[in-house]
Point group: C2
Chain length 336, copies 2
Amino acid sequence: MATNVRPANMERITTPALAKQFIDEQIKELRAQIGNKKVLLALSGGVDSSVVAALLIKAVGKQLVSVHVNHGLLRKGEPEQVVRVFRDELNANLIYVDATDRFLNKLAGVADPEQKRKIIGAEFIRVFEEEAKKLINSSPLGESEGAVHFLAQGTIYPDIIESGPVKSHHNVGGLPEDLQFELVEPIKLLFKDEVRVVGEELGLPDNMVFRQPFPGPGLGVRCTGAITRDRLEALRESDAILREEFAKNGLEGKVWQYFTIVPDYKSTGVRDNKRSWDWPVIIRAVNTRDAMTATIEEIPYPLLHHITQRIITEVPGVNRVLYDLTPKPTGTIEWE
Amino acid sequence: MATNVRPANMERITTPALAKQFIDEQIKELRAQIGNKKVLLALSGGVDSSVVAALLIKAVGKQLVSVHVNHGLLRKGEPEQVVRVFRDELNANLIYVDATDRFLNKLAGVADPEQKRKIIGAEFIRVFEEEAKKLINSSPLGESEGAVHFLAQGTIYPDIIESGPVKSHHNVGGLPEDLQFELVEPIKLLFKDEVRVVGEELGLPDNMVFRQPFPGPGLGVRCTGAITRDRLEALRESDAILREEFAKNGLEGKVWQYFTIVPDYKSTGVRDNKRSWDWPVIIRAVNTRDAMTATIEEIPYPLLHHITQRIITEVPGVNRVLYDLTPKPTGTIEWE
């Protein structure tokens, strides 16, 4: 699929049958493109990279090498799910890298949002590059049989529309010149809803296929200010409680995006008749059509009370729960 | 009224007639106690000190010298109301001291809640003491005619119950030894609801008589962290909007206590298509019987949206509005 323009007559993939047809075509095309060479993929566990991985596993099996970098900023249970689905169930060639310490050490004491994003992005490239080089050292880079010749990416059509007409080799910006891969982008002409239909047909679990959008820097932008391990843990636990309660109460799938934030700020509270000095957990739950504007979900009070009670009871270091009432504008969906 | 114990047969003041009877008795007693000497009163504008002021004005007129210290941490419109009601309407002998700069300069850079409270308390005593001394320099201290012999206070019965049996001279703790006043505490055997009935009978305005409890350090404990003038202004304006909307929408009088907090913390937002980096305003609205436990008011979403829209539109430096969902425990009513 050489072109970056979606053909006018391309049918929208809305049914299992259309998804199956797309998958069968892609398997043929991928096999023709890849031959007996190797393909590298940064597998985040988001729907796009997961669908690309599942397609490539079907097409070229263990010629796909997926690298899952756990930067320590993933949601509760996510790295475990990636390993379970891809290594255990789909029998993929998966390299799991726990880089938590590397990332958190680099981020220690860094409060500036831009600086944090840069560190996370740069460190991600560095970890991925190291894994790529290890792989190349065990098998050549280039055109020969078994060479690591391809880099697969979960580019989708909105990415292409947003970034303008021409996009050539390695758009994992930041990889060094000596790592020149040919790109494999099997879903680059699909819209998000089509990716999901394809993902379901590929047998990926629902909570992977219908996963909420999750920022690249992960929980890093929701542990606002300088990240610490204990506050990151409070964030991960409170976020898991929110997701669990939304799922139980019919809000999963209904609300576009929801998560918690734990700011680097404390207030007085009282626990066991003693003064406490702990963090608040902030709940964000928004609906949007286009992400340019957003409104908040009107979470019913009984559920708000229940979530609040669970968070202040179950999450160490937290004494308050707040609901962010701000529409976009003047708020953004994320806090930094 | 020498005793600090409420007689078992004292009737609860619940009607205008009972209030009038109490007022008439007090006027007689106060005239007998005070004679032709002067009485000093720190008039905050809260219901207790306001009722004491109005009683004393009725009893001894301009022999009462009320000192209203504006520490810069009062709510919007409050110092103006004190001047209007007492100086203009009741023709009181009122000394208005704008000590805003003194307080805010002392508080600059001080983030620790305990330290802030101590500074505000100590500075308050100092300002009041200075005014007392000025007054004594123009008229003697002691037993002679025209001397400043008395200090009036808005002590009420719960204060006495809380602080134990004996309470003698000047419980404005912190006044120096050379300022020895005899105390005048005309409402010390009354409960809060009785003070309100008396206040109404005295003709004080409703929003003074039914004023929500307000902490001594004022907005200082709600401009959390180190106080700055711009953030204090954002707090005062957002608090005024909240009070106005609660009054308009039938929540004034229904909700026990409600106010805003502006923490020393910023987040990303968007305004006029540009990134903003501004404070959140936190809404607190709680109900309680005994202040030992509290639950939040379930403010209807349409009103929350309206208040949010007003605050993010009208208050400079603010890009978000949050609702504090925390019951007490684990939250306290105030944030520091």
